[in-house]
Amino acid sequence: MSAETHEGVHRHPAPTGFIRKYIFSIDHKVIGIQYIMLALAAVLVGMIMSLLMRLNLSWPGTKWPILETLFPTGAPGGVMTPEFYLSLVTMHGTIMVFFVLTTAPQGGFGNYFLPIQIGAEDMAFPYLNMLSFWVTLVGFIVILLAIVVEGNASAGHWLSALGTSFTGGSGTVGPIGGWTGYAPLSALGKIAGPGQGAGMNLWVISIAIFCVGSLLGALNFITTLLNMRTKGMSLMRMPLTCWAWFTTAVLALLSFPVLLGGGILLLLDRIAGTSFFIPSGLYVSGLLSGSNPNFPLHTGGSPILWQHLFWFFGHPEVYIAILPGMGATSHILATFARKPVFGYRAMVFAIFAIGLLGFFVWGHHMFISGMSPYSAIAFSVLTLSIGVPSAVKTFNWLGTLWGSRIRFTTAMLFALGFVSLFVAGGISGLILGQSSLDLPMHDTYIVPAHFHLVMGVASIFGMFAALYFWFPKMFGRFMNETIGRIHFWVTFIGVYAIFMPMHIMGIVGMPRRYSSFTEYRFLDSLHPLVVLVTVAAIVTISVQVLFYFNVFWSIFKGKKAGDNPWEATTLEWTTATPPPHDNFAGVLPTVYHGPYEFAVPGAPNDFVMQTDAEADVSSGNGHKH
C-alpha cells in the first residue's frame, strides 16, 4: 500500500437519496453492479428456457401440467409444441448473447473496474453511462414483452390497436427466428407463420435499442481509457483487463452500428413494405408475393444480405463476449500464481490481433449460404489464422502458471476453468472453420457444442472468476469459498458433460433446432446420450442456485475483507474496500510500475503495488517499459 493514498483523505459529498444513490446513479460502480444484476436476472430467464428445451428433447410428449398453466397456447395439454420449442431457442439465444454475455463482462465488470484500474474518479461521461444502462434495461424489458405479446392473444390484440403492423397472438411463446433472425422468414411479418407477428417486431426493436445502449457504453469506455489515465499509467502499464475492455469497446463501436443499420432495414421490411431482404417471386405459406393483399409484391431484395450484415456484427460480438473474460483470466492467473503475466506485450498484441481478425471472418458463419468457394477459402484461412493469437494467449497463460506455487482460490479455479474451456471449445473451431468440414456439420449439434463451450461457458467462467475475485472489493466481504468450490467443480464437470456429448451427436448427424427426434430412427441409439446431457444440465443448473445464494448471502453475511485481500498489485487494491464514491478518496494515485510485479526479488513482500514509489524492480522479472 503506497503512502500517498492514505494522505489527505477527502471525501466527496456522495449522493444521499436512495434513488440518486442506487437507482439513477451516475457512479460507475453502482452502474456496474446494476449491469451485473441485469445479467443475473437475464441469465436466470435464459437458463430456465434451456432447461425447458432439454426436458422436451429427452422426454418428448411428456405432459407438464405447469407448462399448460403458464403457456396455454405454447403447450396445449402440457405438451410442448415445436413452435414453442423454436421460440425458446430464439429467446434463449437472444437473451444470453445480448443481455448476459454482452452486459456482464463489459457493462458490469468493465464499468466497475476500468476507471479504478486506470486511476480515474469515474467514467468520462457519467450521465451517458447511466443512460447506456437504462437504455439497455429498456431493451431487456422490450424483449420480455416480445414473449408476452407473441404468446398472449389478448396482449397482442391490445398492441394491435397501436398499429396495423402489431398483430400478434399467433399462439406461440415468443418470436421465432433464432438469435440470428434470418431473413426472409424474419422479414415477412405474420404471413410467414407462427412467431412472426408483433413479438418479432419487438424482437427487432429490442435489438436496435440494445445497439444504442452498447454504442453509448463503448463511446464512454474508449474516451475514458484514452483520456483519463492517472499520472504514470502509460498504456503498457495498464492491467490486461483494461486492454481487453478497451478492445471490446472498439469492437462494439464498429460492429453495433452495422447491426443497427441492418435492424432498421429489417424493421422497414416488416412494417413499411420495403424489400431489402425479401427476394422476388417468394412463395410462402401457400401464397405468392404480390398475389394477395396480405402479401404485397416484393422485388429485388436479398436474404443473404441480412446474413452479411448480421454476421459482420455477429462475429465481433463473439469476441465482445469473450475478450473481457480473457483479460480477467490473465489478471487472476498472475495474481494467484504469484508470477508476472508471461509475455505481457504479446498478450496485448494478441488481444488486438483477435479483435482485428474478428472483423474479417464473418463469412465462416455463411459457408452453407451458397457463397463462392473462393470466398469460402479466404474466410477459412482468415478464420484459422485467429488460432495464432489464441494460441499465443493460451501458451502465455500456461507460461504464467509454469513453475508457480498456485493459490487455489475459487476465483483461480474458475480462471483455470476458463483456459480449459477456451482450449476445448476452440479446437472444434479449427474443424468448423474449414468450409469443406463445415458444410456437412453446420446444421448439426457440433456447432452448438462449439460455441457454447468457447463463447458461452468460457465467457461465463471468466465472469465467475471475476466475480469471486473482485467481490471482496465490490462489497467488502468474501464470497463463501466452500460453496464456491462446490459451485466450481459441479459446474466444471457439468458443462463438459453437457457439451462434450453434443460433439458426438453432431458428428453422427443430429440436426440442431429440432424439438424432438422421435421420427428419426438413425438417431435412436443416441437417445441415452441426450438424456445424459439433460441430467447433466439439470445438475449444473441446480448448482447455480448455490451460486445465487452465495452472491446474495455474502453481500450481507460474508467474511469481511481488507483492502487488498489477494495481495494483488493493481490500483483497485490500493483504495478502500469498498471504494469511496470518487474511487480514491480525493487523491488520485500515481503509478510507478507495470501491473503484474509479482515474485520480485529482494522486495519485502513477493509483490510490488503499482503505486509503490520506493520499490525498485528494474532487476526483477517485471516488464521494462
Binding site: 461521461f125 463501436l253 443499420g261 432498421i264 488520485l588
Partner: protein, 231 residues
C-alpha cells in the same frame, strides 16, 4: 526503469480533488461553461475537471467512427442489392442543388473558423448563421427532392434501390439535424458569452463541431456519388 523520473513527480501527486467534483454533477465540464471552474483552470490539476480538448476530439472521432460504420453498412446494402427487376433511377435535380448547398456550407463553416482565429466576433457570428441557413436549406432541398422522386414513380416501398434514395437521405438528414443543433449551440455560445469565450475551449468546440459538419458533408457527397454513378 522510470523510477528516477517519477520521483520528482511523486511529491506533487498528492493533489486534493476539490469538493465540486464528480459527486455533485458528473465531472464532465458543463458544455455551457456555466459551472464555476467549468473552463477548468485548476492550476495543473490533472483530474478531469480540467478542460481537456482531447476528450472532446476523441469523443467526436469515436462518434463519427460509429456513424461511418452505419453508412458503410447501408452503402454495401445498396451495392449488393439484387440486380433483378431494377431500373435506373434518375437523380432528382434537387439533389444536385443539395450537394452544392452542403459543399458551400462547409466553406462558410471554414470561414467562421478563420474569423475565430482572426478574432473577428461579428464575422464569426455571420458565417455561423450562414452555415446554419445553408444546412436548413439543404434539408429543405432534400424534402423537395423526395417529392420529385415520388412524382417520377419512385416510392419508399419498392425495389431496395428506390427505398435507398429515401432511407439514405433520411438517415443522413437526421444526422445533419444533429449538426444543425451543434451549430445552433455555437451561435448561442457566441451570443451569450460575447467574445469572452475567446480561448482554447471555444476553439475546441468549434473544431469538434466542424469535424462533425465536414464529415456529414463528406457522407452526403459519398451517397450522392453512389446514387448517381452506381445505378
Amino acid at each position: 526503469m522510470l523510477r528516477p523520473t517519477y520521483q520528482a513527480a511523486m511529491v506533487t501527486s498528492t493533489k486534493k480533488v476539490t469538493s465540486k467534483g464528480i459527486g455533485s454533477g458528473g465531472g464532465f465540464p458543463g458544455p455551457n461553461g456555466k459551472k464555476p471552474g467549468g473552463n477548468g483552470f485548476h492550476g495543473g490539476d490533472r483530474s478531469k475537471r480540467k478542460f481537456s480538448p482531447a476528450t472532446y476530439r476523441i469523443t467526436m472521432w469515436v462518434v463519427l467512427a460509429a456513424v461511418l460504420m452505419m453508412f458503410a453498412a447501408l452503402s454495401s446494402v445498396y451495392i449488393m442489392s439484387s440486380e433483378e427487376e431494377r431500373r435506373p433511377i434518375a437523380m432528382p435535380s434537387m439533389f444536385f442543388l443539395s450537394t452544392g448547398l452542403i459543399l458551400v456550407s462547409s466553406g462558410t463553416f471554414h470561414q467562421a473558423k478563420r474569423s475565430l482565429q482572426q478574432d473577428r466576433p461579428r464575422a464569426y457570428l455571420r458565417w455561423l448563421l450562414a452555415t446554419l441557413a445553408l444546412g436548413v436549406a439543404f434539408l429543405g432541398s432534400q424534402l423537395v427532392g423526395w417529392r420529385e422522386l415520388a412524382r417520377g414513380g419512385v416510392y419508399f416501398a419498392g425495389h431496395p434501390r428506390s427505398t435507398f434514395f429515401y432511407l439514405a437521405t433520411a438517415l443522413h438528414g437526421a444526422h445533419l439535424v444533429g449538426g444543425i443543433a451543434l451549430i445552433l449551440y455555437l451561435v448561442i455560445r457566441r451570443l451569450r458569452l460575447g467574445w469572452l469565450l475567446h480561448g482554447q475551449k471555444n476553439a475546441t468546440w468549434h473544431s469538434v463541431v466542424g469535424l462533425y459538419w465536414h464529415t456529414m458533408d463528406g457522407i452526403w457527397v459519398w451517397l450522392f456519388l453512389l446514387l448517381l454513378i452506381f445505378k
